[in-house]
Symmetry: D3
Subunit: 139 residues, 6 copies
């Protein structure tokens, strides 16, 4: 099996806040990640597809196509945006890195399947919130 990965990035603002809980609970639970006027990150996104290279091209997936899917489905919607307010597929989600990778995975799954070589599919989505913190969704 071969695993191919494409890396990209976007810059966004967010805030951790659970609307079903009190302000006090949120401040205590999330600390400075709950500050009211938002903060932000240079997110780095890595998407990995697993499969067998197509014998004609040597590709598990054309990385130019994967780049375009990642741009259209994730980057164009999140870049320079507020992850709590601006992104359709994140409505109602607390934008922790854990929750983001899960949502991104489901945004990408079908379209990657349709463009990968026979038998290949999305394997994992990894998101770096900072160089020191990252999460990966791999079902």
């Amino acid at each position: 099996m071969v695993y191919v990965t494409r890396k990209t990035h976007f810059n966004a603002s967010h805030r951790l806040h659970n609307h079903e809980k009190s302000d006090e609970w949120n401040r205590k639970t999330f600390g400075k990640c709950n500050y009211p006027n938002w903060h932000g990150h240079n997110y780095v996104l890595e998407v990995t597809v697993r499969g067998i290279p197509d014998p004609d091209t040597g590709y598990v997936i054309d990385l130019g196509i994967l780049k375009e899917i990642m741009k259209r489905r994730i980057v164009d919607k999140c870049d320079h945006r507020n992850l709590n307010l601006d992104v359709d597929f994140l409505k109602g989600i607390i934008p922790s890195t854990e929750n983001l990778v899960k949502q991104f995975y489901h945004e990408l799954l079908d379209e990657i399947k349709a463009h990968a070589s026979d038998g290949s599919e999305l394997y994992s989505v990894r998101l770096f919130e900072t160089e020191r913190n990252f999460a990966e969704y791999r079902p």
Copy 2:
């Protein structure tokens, strides 16, 4: 001459907007950096002090002290904050990387002078907004 540099980081939100201009001018001039709901960055800050090492310590400046000055004067005020709304010494400043390095320089100048070895002083402040964009103030 020896130049010593200490690197740190903070995560903040911001937006480029000139309040003396129309919304249309702002949208046209700043593009996605003007989006209304903020975006953010993992800022990386490098502060360089130039001078002669103290013969007793071999230090131009104790990097533990420099780290503490950078933390108290810059990081504690900017980290997980909104650079347009939350930082006292940035009030009224358009938070471009160019303007930020100039403000940071003046925040740090006197206190670094007071703690560096004889004849040593702040040389430059460099700020990475992303891995691909950075500014340096070096008067």
Copy 3:
């Protein structure tokens, strides 16, 4: 399943030497890693926890708590220390990167379990001795 990772670092000295073998065996086996006056590294430590995000917080584990556990159990004991002489849980261990990750894993296991979300647990410990050499323990 979601995997969350926290990265930190410490600077330490060490030397590869097996006290049950002759000096000649040690010199031949470990080469420059056996030099008598120690050498050292900027170690980079990555700890990964696997589980289901808590629905209230979106966290597999609060990374602030994970950071604190890693600091107290590993970094405070190893940073600016000699890994052969100074660290209680490494006594009698040849401090190869392989052996270090295994010891670190067992130092962290229970306390991470106690603080992670339901059903979550320590997944792996990865240690970079240099940018070119690293080991991972993943039972």
Copy 4:
């Protein structure tokens, strides 16, 4: 189980071209990767060996030996070379990153097995074509 990884690099030229297809098919399929006068990359190669550390050395494999195997079998043959024209074990292969990692894996398998500790073996070969694109072979 412990996984140890050694990282190295080489600089090479290549071009994606399937000789069984027309020039038009190649241009359409591979785009700028098919440009006739070659292009090139600073390839970064990571080789991971999995096993149980030897009790006498603390090593899954002596990384000095692994480095020498990687140099002799891969780097000396590929560095400053043309991957389509100059490398014996790549003859007839379209040098996509996917195909390269598979060939590298088979070049390294037996010799690593012979030098690793009892029960240890090659686990994966990862190759970065750029910082943004990489492939891993892990059977």
Copy 5:
């Protein structure tokens, strides 16, 4: 004075060869950089503009415009190309990193001057051939 830098990259093939000298001289002088079938690099390009931020925008130069100039004048001509054969402004130049930065500087000088704030201008061009080798032109 503020210095702003924009970083980008391209992948190209090249070979060091002086056509006015013998093949033997070239082999002896350039070693593996003279191998006949080309080799290549992931070049990283950093362009720095020095000046006074415009009071309306906070910009020394709009980095979006600088990015577009770098793309049109350098990246579009060099990416996935052969630096000895394919680039108009490099004809007859031995493509050492030293020579490349000088040519790139002169390609960029006037157009950057035309788009920077009053009194601002191109300060330096830096090119990384690898992570370990780079050159800077700064007249």
Copy 6:
């Protein structure tokens, strides 16, 4: 003027201690950098030569020769060594990063001058003790 830089690395142990002062003064001044059993770093060394490229080669200095000088004069003496005890040209020097770059500069000056193109010379020596701390000597 063109500036060319070559980067390399070595791993060493050290300790900050001034033998002319009391143990108490040393503990208070240097803190954990004074711990008795040494600590260590993965040092990264960057050497920059400034000059005019030779018209026959396009080189300010042959980076293969610069690499060999850096290896013989610095790396072979410092790698896997104790900077307080093992290095001839560091005897009696407190091995702060500031002091190291000055000593390295004087070790390299004449030999680089002898091998660079006409009119070229050593410009600066930069040493990273960690990714967060570095010093540069540039007379």
